[in-house]
């Protein structure tokens, strides 16, 4: 079966600084993969490069198609990007925001086809946003807005979804609901790649993790094998203490 995402020897430079070096990993359909690492490790840059925002050396394949050969319109049905914070601040109805996900299927003056509308409705249901679909986006709570932007990504029907810190600023209930939705999507055959800051969330909700440090790949494997003291500790400069309920971190110097 084709891989959802295949990243091969990718390098990204900003000015004269190399921010990603020789990054390789692949993602299969049906799995959740976390990109983890300290601040400045290159997680968001890697996610944005996969989404097509930055030029890069190496190769990125989306469903075995080279990313750099795809136009934005060809790329959109293959990969859905969910930003940490959407820059949308216009008071358009939430359903119209979700309908933007069908842009790549539309032409000229034409409106949405019945199949487009059906995809929009499925996205609303999957994210539990149908009940406030007619409310202006700018009048929604922060958590509701995040779900609407996720619904817009789902409306593209892309089977690879990449999310930048999806749980940041969400309360515990909203976070659990979000990860529940992402797990459901994975079980339906989507591939999900997400940048996560909280290692506990990575450990609890994702299948595999890619640990980055200073733009380099440090470890890739099952999340439980990556988020452990001998791998995480040196990178973050902490000592992980596991107990029956999870783990705690202490500064390495104290431990």
């Amino acid at each position: 079966m084709a891989k959802a995402l295949d990243v091969r020897e990718v390098q990204v430079e900003r000015g004269k600084r190399r921010v990603l070096q020789q990054i390789s990993f692949a993602v299969e359909y049906g799995e959740l993969v976390a990109l983890i690492g300290p601040n400045g490790a290159g997680k968001t840059t890697l996610l944005e490069t996969i989404a097509g925002f930055h030029s890069f050396a190496g190769e990125i394949l989306l469903q075995e198609k080279p990313l750099r050969l795809l136009s934005p319109r060809q790329r959109a049905p293959l990969i859905a990007y969910v930003p940490q914070i959407s820059r949308l601040d216009a008071p358009m109805a939430a359903i119209d925001v979700v309908r933007q996900g069908r842009f790549c299927f539309r032409n000229g003056f034409g409106g949405l086809s019945p199949s487009d509308e059906a995809a929009v409705q499925r996205a609303l249901v999957a994210t539990d946003t149908a009940r406030f679909a007619d409310r202006p986006y700018t009048e929604l709570s922060y958590g509701e807005r995040r779900r609407v932007v996720l619904a817009r990504a789902l409306a593209t029907e892309a089977r690879l979804i990449v999310l930048d810190e999806p749980s940041s600023s969400l309360d515990i209930g909203q976070s659990l609901a979000l990860f529940d939705t992402l797990r459901t999507l994975a079980s339906q055959g989507h591939a999900v790649v997400l940048v996560l800051h909280h290692l506990g969330e990575a450990l609890r909700f994702t299948d595999r993790a890619l640990l980055l440090h200073q733009g380099r790949r440090v470890a890739l494997g099952r999340t439980a094998e990556v988020v452990c003291d001998n791998v995480i500790g040196p990178v973050y400069g902490v000592k992980l203490l596991a107990d029956g309920h999870g783990f705690h971190a202490l500064p390495r110097a104290i431990s």
Binding site: P72, A76, L88, P91
Partner: protein, 312 residues
């Protein structure tokens, strides 16, 4: 109703059978020019506001209005001081073509400067700098034109805006540009809506941002050039009409561009009506009327939106 009033109201009585046909023809051309000018400026305003994700910009931000104005002024001056310079061109068409040329020069510079620098800030700064340069050059041309009273008056009248003495040829030149521009704006309304969400997100949803921006800039340039060629420099229409209409039609550009075109056209027809109907020794320049109405209305809208933002 505004269109009908525009045809009926004015100096000269329609009761005179000898004058009726001429007056009706002249006024109909003037009303059509006012409507097209307003439609073009308002629609351009809606497009640039979406393009720059900023409701406080108007078509002049790209420098195309000042460029068109400078082109028109340059041709007016050339027609007087260098009469053999444009031997094969009907004078009524020379000014509109000058406007078009000026607007296209401005747009060419904006696109050239921003080709490899995608930042909207660079576009805004380039447009602002060009506007300043063109306005200064226009001031210089105005000083040159003072040597002849007629030319000086024509230049001042052009820079203040006015729809008097519109010829059918001018309308025929501007009409297809403006209609095509409005249709293009309607066609590009989906991409404009996507740009409300920022360039990266728009790109991720399938929009070729560079192409969309380039085409929108070109169409805005054509529309503003056509509007300036008809009515001279008429301010505030592109700024306040989209602002005033959005509370009624929402923010989706497929509705906005069409409604603001109609509202902008109607607004300029009414302003032109006022410029003719208000008691004065001579006709009040329409740019003065739109400024007197537009500035306080814009301040009111700004105050209200600021208050809502503060509450929110």
């Amino acid at each position: 109703m505004a269109l009908a009033a525009g045809v009926v109201v004015g100096h000269g009585s329609l009761a005179d059978p000898g004058l009726r046909d001429t007056l009706l023809r002249l006024r109909a051309a003037r009303v059509a020019a006012a409507f097209l000018t307003g439609a073009a400026l308002a629609c351009s305003g809606a497009v640039v506001q979406a393009l720059f994700r900023n409701p406080l910009v108007d078509p002049s931000i790209l420098g195309s209005t000042a460029g068109a104005s400078l082109g028109g002024q340059a041709v007016l001056l050339a027609l007087h001081f260098l009469p053999g310079w444009l031997p094969h061109l009907v004078p009524e068409l020379a000014v509109p073509l000058g406007c078009l040329g000026g607007a296209l020069v401005a747009l060419f510079i904006v696109l050239a400067v921003t080709e490899h620098r995608q930042s909207m800030l660079i576009v805004l700064l380039t447009g602002f700098t060009l506007s300043s340069l063109f306005l200064s050059t226009g001031g210089f041309l105005l000083s040159l034109g003072q040597e002849s009273w007629e030319v000086g008056r024509a230049l001042v009248s052009f820079s203040l805006g006015g729809l008097g003495g519109i010829e059918v040829q001018q309308l025929l030149l501007a009409f297809p540009l403006i209609v095509a521009g409005i249709l293009a704006a309607r066609f590009w309304s989906g991409p404009l809506d996507l740009l409300l969400t920022g360039e990266d997100e728009a790109r991720s949803l399938g929009l070729d941002v560079k192409e969309a921006r380039r085409w929108c800039v070109v169409w805005v340039g054509f529309m503003t050039a056509a509007a300036v060629s008809l009515g001279g420099n008429i301010g505030f229409v592109g700024l306040i009409i989209p602002h005033a209409m959005r509370p009624f039609v929402g923010v989706l550009n497929r509705h906005v561009v069409v409604v603001v075109a109609i509202a902008g056209g109607t607004f300029v027809v009414l302003c032109d009506l006022l410029s003719r109907a208000l008691p004065s020794r001579s006709e009040i320049p329409i740019g003065v009327i739109t400024g007197l109405i537009g500035a306080p209305v814009f301040l009111l809208l700004l105050y209200r939106s600021g208050r809502e933002l503060h509450r929110g």
